[in-house]
Amino acid sequence: MNSTPETLRRTALYDEHVTLGARLVPFGGFEMPVQYAGILKEHDAVRQRAGIFDLSHMAQFELFGDGVADWADSLTTNAVGTMKRYQARYNIFTNERGGCHDDVLFYRLANRWLLVCNASNAAKMWAHLKAHNERPDVRLESRHGQAALIAVQGPKAVEIVAPLCDGDAKDVAELKYYFCAEGSVDGTRAVVARTGYTGEDGFELFVDGADAPRLWRRLLEVGKKYGLEPAGLGARDMLRLEAGMPLYGFELDEELSPLAGGQSWAVKMNKPAFAGKAALAAQLAADDYQRIAGFVLEGRVPARTGYPVFSGGKRVGEVRSASIAPSYGNRNIGTALLPKAATAVGTPLEIEIRGARHAAQVVSLPFYKRER
């Protein structure tokens, strides 16, 4: 991010983070909590009980008009037009080379759509959407920085959130995964979505920034007896990596296609023309592109982004994400960008760490899957 400390923005929940003793770091142009009590403790809270996250730095755009589905389908790889009302769907905006502008979530509401983009891509995506919207039946509005987003994730999330929900959101306990409702939470107008980025059950609550601090405090209060704890971006990154979810800038970027990033399930080649379709068709046909694979290291030495990866004595790629994985036997895991030949499960790899090579092997993603 290019922000200097002077230009960093704060979310509506900034004061709550300070009160809770969070360690704040610049992320996506905002001053965000990377941790409160500690990343491992917060990870454990989310996997065993529940964690509450401030995700208000993520860009929220609202899309209006009869042309939204059609228009969005021309810019993305996954299907928008087939989404039902109150459905949520992961999607990827692609460039003409098949690389990714951003990976996003679409939420289809009663008479508008909510598009949630990565904070690090907010300005780029807003410019991209504006530049590609010449249609009179699509209107865009940015709520980035005004709207807040609070996520409650973990096996206890339903017990914490559902009793607070009312209006059209009063049955959120019955809400299916990747669906949402529009109603109220503790009297605050909210879109309540059963979505998340942790590999756990949970909700994401879209509310106005002005209402966010009161709702945040209320959730912490009612969540206390369930062991709810505030969780920061450090825990979130560990949770998403274990769950095999990509992070833009690591598993996906302008040069890495959704296919390379392991998101081919979100590429619908049967859609009519969309940005990058020809490039993706060529990649599929040749099937020779470098791609993301999961790995586990043998020893206790952690890998880090950028470390070289070797196969058969030859340097073949690099580590993209890495972490210790409490939900994978406390092993050191990660993702690497590798040639196809080196991505078969079980392939022995070596990762160079401070000049020494450490044994690793390719494993299937995700590293962690919750029991349902």
């Binding site: 990377v34 990343i39 450090g234 030495v301 210790i324 401070r354």
Partner: protein, 129 residues
């Protein structure tokens, strides 16, 4: 935050406890707290000669790799073997069970380049501003 008496400190946040010609080295509570959850510690080998303020290993937290420097010159005579299985010992007890290694000190006069507990307190108070 008062530092334990009887220790000397480096500007790189290591502590040194001297018993005769043997020095015990660790990182400070301030350092472990700044690093967050420690998941791996790479220490010099026993028998290794180390030079004051030289880089001799790393401490890895969940989020970052940090160089480890030594506060004093000498020969490494013991490393804390408990850290291999439980590196979080450094988080839990930085001045005690989370010690890193012991060194046979070569030049005791080098300690004049280290900080007293109150000087170290002043250093981290300044860093907090």
């Amino acid at each position: 935050m008062a530092q334990p008496e009887g220790l000397l400190f480096s500007k790189e946040h290591e502590w040194l406890k001297i018993d005769g010609d043997v020095g015990t080295v660790g990182i400070t509570d301030y350092a472990q707290n700044s690093l967050g959850d420690i998941v791996y510690v790479e220490l010099p080998r026993v028998g290794h000669e180390i030079k004051q303020f030289g880089s001799i290993g790393v401490v890895e937290s969940v989020k970052a790799v940090s160089d480890l420097f030594t506060p004093i010159s000498g020969e490494v005579i013991e490393v804390n073997s408990g850290l291999e299985a439980d590196p979080a010992l450094v988080n839990r007890d930085a001045f005690g069970a989370g010690w890193l290694y012991k060194v046979r000190i070569k030049g005791l006069n080098e300690k004049s380049a280290l900080l007293s507990p109150s000087d170290y307190d002043a250093l981290i108070a300044e860093a907090a501003h």
